[in-house]
């Protein structure tokens, strides 16, 4: 059956836009009537209605529930999106973040009335600095890229404080997340790419050759974007330090090593930690995130405000660049960062404890290696040997089949899985980066492996029906992204 009169397909309901059936004279919120008719708006009353339609509550709930059913989600199935760490989001954390004592407090209430909130920030800081062995942490960055900015601005401030203003070049591997070069540029640095070896690690010789007295820092993701630990990480740190620069470590992949590695021992000067990855605050369809940035003793004095400190009289929020924060490089954001994410992350840390977090890393890495080992005979691993928390394949196993990485990913949708990260890292041809995380059971992994094997076998035996125009079973067919970009329609008209 092709079409229904209603436009629905059984459980999959029609999803009109709000603007197509909402009404301008309707509201789903009842507001108490005005008792005092006085106004003090000057001449500033709005002249034209904003043309915002409203829905009653039953209509609104149905509108968004229908839309929700067109989304894939970690609660529905495996979401092995490499580099993004889609793990289970415990609901306890949601409940804790919604306690009135956390959700219904204002960032500028007198500090005496928010001692519990400051205590929570202090305790989270303790966990983050203890897990990494680092000197200090700046909590306020709002996401991973913002944390990178925090670290790079601290580096810049430290260089400037030491009369090193000529150091403005930052070394970034080709395999890095796009945020790394973008951040370096946004902090006023030039970007110099360093290459990669055939076994997926930073090309130490290329790195070493590019050092110089204008180098400010090197930014390295570890474990790297190929899902591998950089074995020469300490040598890189020592070399950049000897050359007068700093070591920024992108902590996006901290999940693989939390509780297993003391970051400070690797010579790291700054590293952001995505609370929305390693510490399981929900991704929410693209945020909010949170990117606290741990700092070495050399960079700690330059951390941005605000800071939480413990005093004899309780907890104090240092909000201005004076006293203890005299050398702070400034303020990155209004208020104090992502409190809602701090609560969730601390709930997650407390639940796992020191022992559980170590198990998190071990199970995440075990799961990835299980996938790698189980698929290596039918797919093509990008590199030899074990991986960390991500299994990376290239597209050489698809050579001659006419099936691309994109086709393969879309066929996975029909199998009921969210595709892996595609075409990243850029240094691997047709990359397929699979990150199962520790919250998948062996049963789920076995199902995933069976589907992947079947797809790989089908592709190789030229049975392309599963790939041609896939996905076939998703709520939408393949969408025309070229048209969207050529004639952008960014709002309903």
């Amino acid at each position: 059956m092709e079409n229904t009169t209603s436009g629905a397909k059984g459980l999959l309901q029609k999803t009109e836009l709000l603007f197509e059936y909402g009404r301008l004279d309707v509201s789903g919120v009842d507001v108490a009537p005005i008792a005092n008719p006085q106004v003090r708006l000057g001449n500033m009353k709005r002249q034209q209605n904003p043309q915002l339609p409203g829905l009653t509550e039953p209509e609104a709930v149905r509108h968004y529930v229908r839309l929700s059913q067109r989304n894939y989600a970690i609660d529905l199935g495996m979401f092995p999106l490499g580099s993004c760490t889609m793990k289970h989001n415990p609901r306890l954390n949601e409940a804790m973040a919604r306690l009135a004592g956390f959700a219904d407090i204002h960032p500028l209430q007198p500090q005496s009335t928010v001692q519990g909130a400051l205590e929570l920030m202090h305790e989270l800081s303790f966990w983050l600095t203890t897990l990494t062995g680092m000197q200090a942490v700046a909590l306020s960055p709002k996401a991973g890229a913002h944390g990178e900015q925090c670290g790079m601005l601290a580096i810049r401030a430290a260089l400037d404080a030491n009369g090193q203003q000529h150091r403005r070049r930052v070394l970034v591997p080709k395999s890095a997340h796009g945020t790394n070069p973008a951040t370096a540029a946004q902090c006023g640095f030039s970007v110099d790419e360093i290459g990669q070896t055939a076994n997926g690690r930073v090309d130490f010789a290329d790195f070493y050759a590019k050092l110089g007295d204008d180098v400010a820092a090197v930014m390295i993701t570890n474990p790297n974007t190929c899902g591998l630990f950089e074995p020469q990480i300490k040598e890189i740190a020592d070399a950049i330090h000897a050359a007068g620069g700093y070591f920024y470590c992108d902590g996006a992949n901290f999940n693989a090593i939390v509780g297993k590695v003391k970051i400070a021992e690797l010579g790291v000067d700054a590293m952001h930690i995505n609370l929305h990855k390693t510490f399981s605050t929900p991704h929410g369809g693209g945020g909010p995130g949170s990117g606290p940035t741990v700092l070495s003793a050399a960079l700690a004095p330059f951390a941005p405000v605000p800071l939480v400190v413990k005093t004899a009289n309780g907890f104090e929020l240092v909000e201005n660049a004076s006293g203890e924060a005299e050398q702070a490089f400034g303020r990155m954001v209004a208020f104090h960062g992502q409190m809602g994410m701090y609560v969730r992350a601390l709930a997650y840390m407390l639940s796992h404890g020191s022992d559980g977090l170590k198990q998190v890393a071990e199970d995440a890495v075990l799961n990835a290696n299980y996938i790698l080992a189980s698929l290596k005979d039918v797919m093509s691993p990008a590199f030899e040997g074990y991986c960390m928390h991500e299994a990376l394949f290239d597209d050489s196993f698809l050579e001659g089949t006419g099936v691309t990485t994109l086709d393969f990913a879309k066929a996975m949708i029909d199998e009921g899985f969210h595709p892996m990260t595609m075409y990243f890292p850029l240094v691997v041809h047709g990359a397929m980066l699979i990150e199962p995380t520790e919250t998948e059971s062996k049963n789920t992994l076995d199902g995933f492996i069976a589907s992947m094997r079947a797809l790989a076998v089908a592709a190789k035996s030229n049975d392309i029906s599963k790939f041609d125009h896939a996905p076939h079973l998703a709520p939408s067919k393949r969408l025309d992204e070229v048209m969207a970009a050529r004639k952008p329609v960014l709002k309903y008209v």
């Binding site: 789903g28 989600a73 973008a182 407390l350 998190v360 309903y492």
Partner: protein
């Protein structure tokens, strides 16, 4: 451990498949001196759900929740009533536990709501295009300044003394390292037009605010015309988006880039975050915008659908030449905004805004009857600056001791402000305030002055 599905038996069996003796085999690239071979002793072991709940609830109980006292804090974060259905929707698994919609065939829920969000934001602010959200108002302001410099190829920025000091600070931090010069004007209750005197042919943009940090609402149209005549862009900033249910939006006053905080619609106070930054501009600057954009297209069957678009502006494609490094934004907070605004519609928003204004007028009337207190903000939406006969920070602490959260001392935002400004208290009201709250505030304030 309740979140880890693998049993020891599973682990052994998987190691067997892999051909590894133990998980330690996977960690051999880590230098020995950096390995942690046992759980970190300084951190506690795992806790039950009940234990975690007790631990965190005890901390939460040490805070004074806004809903439990007469409450008048604003200055960039506002306590509004958010219908219960909003939180229900954003806690649905399909929205809460999904990622940035990279696979549009299985992400139409997120993509269509972002498209609705962009449409609502553009209409509310009276702008041509809006993006799919920024981290918050302050970072949106910072990005707007950098974008204006990119568009105009100029490097000097004038920020009015009515802009929230934290927003100015966030802009400063982003701008100063890429060769932009920021001129920050002195704090002023009602003088956005002071930026006009600083206009010159090297100015990239002026940053002005309505409502401003002192609650003042004023027509910015003349400033926009003056700035644009000099080739500068106008960045219009706000911290209380509810205002635009009642007052002229910044787009209608000629601002080229309109940025601000969307927290008031759909989102709780959360001690400052997560919030949702709104970012809107003219269509001709669309390709210079930071952040994600959802756009309309069709699928292979010709059915309407939505995708992330114009990503050649973004870091994952353009790397060091990207318009911004932003990646993750405020997706779920944007969803909360959209669901709440869909419930409100222009009708409900107008009513809520009118109620906020009514309460603020009541506050102004109550406070101006107190000896020594002067209301400084002449035209306002829901927030006023009042001058006290003593430092506002001290008064606020004394009010808190009496169980009233009476507002935000301006000096908290700008500790080096003038002696006169040290006595300025910012007092906000919303539809959540009652007459009894306002009486309690006035009574307590009389006692502490």
């Amino acid at each position: 451990m309740r979140y880890l599905p693998l049993s020891d038996e599973n682990r052994q069996s998987m190691l067997g498949t892999i051909g590894a003796k133990s998980v330690d085999d996977f960690f051999t690239d880590i230098p020995i001196f950096a390995r942690l071979n046992a759980p970190i002793a300084e951190l506690p072991g795992h806790k039950t759900e009940l234990e975690v709940s007790r631990h965190l609830s005890a901390m939460a109980a040490k805070n004074v929740a806004a809903g439990t006292v007469p409450f008048f804090c604003g200055a960039g974060a506002y306590r509004h009533h958010v219908p219960a259905s909003v939180d229900h929707i954003i806690q649905r698994s399909e929205f809460l536990t999904t990622y940035t919609p990279y696979q549009p065939e299985i992400a139409q829920g997120t993509l269509q709501t972002l498209f609705e969000f962009q449409t609502q934001v553009a209409r509310l602010l009276d702008c041509e295009v809006a993006n799919a959200s920024m981290y918050d108002g302050s970072t949106a302001c910072a990005e707007a300044v950098v974008m204006a410099a990119r568009v105009t190829k100029r490097n000097k920025i004038i920020i009015s003394g009515g802009v929230h000091p934290h927003y100015a600070a966030a802009a400063q931090v982003l701008a100063q390292n890429i060769g932009l010069e920021i001129v920050m004007l002195d704090a002023a209750i009602d003088d956005e037009k002071a930026v006009i005197a600083h206009l010159a042919s090297d100015i990239a943009c002026v940053v002005i605010s309505c409502p401003n940090v002192f609650g003042t609402i004023s027509d910015l149209s003349d400033i926009s015309r003056a700035a644009q005549a000099q080739g500068a862009l106008v960045v219009g900033v706000f911290t209380e988006v509810t205002a635009f249910g009642l007052i002229q939006p910044l787009g209608a006053m000629g601002c080229d880039i309109v940025v601000g905080e969307g927290q008031s619609i759909g989102n709780a106070l959360n001690f400052g975050g997560p919030y949702v930054g709104l970012f809107a501009t003219r269509e001709k600057y669309m390709r210079q915008m930071p952040g994600r954009l959802a756009g309309e297209t069709v699928d292979l069957d010709g059915n309407r659908g939505f995708v992330l678009t114009l990503s050649t502006r973004e870091q994952h494609i353009r790397r060091e030449k990207a318009t911004s490094n932003i990646c993750t934004n405020s997706g779920l907070c944007a969803l909360a905004f959209t669901v709440h605004l869909s419930l409100l519609g222009q009708k409900g928003l107008g009513q809520v805004a009118a109620k906020c204004h009514e309460m603020a007028v009541e506050v102004a009337q109550a406070l101006e009857s107190i000896d020594g207190v002067t209301v400084l903000t002449e035209a306002f939406f829901n927030e006023i600056a009042v001058s006290l006969p003593k430092p506002a920070a001290q008064a606020v602490d004394e009010l808190a001791a009496k169980g009233v959260l009476g507002g935000v001392p301006y000096s908290r935002l700008d500790p080096n402000c003038s002696a006169q400004m040290q006595n300025v208290l910012l007092v906000a009201a919303t539809e959540t305030n009652t007459k009894a709250d306002i009486e309690a505030l006035a009574t307590a304030l009389k006692e502490v002055l």
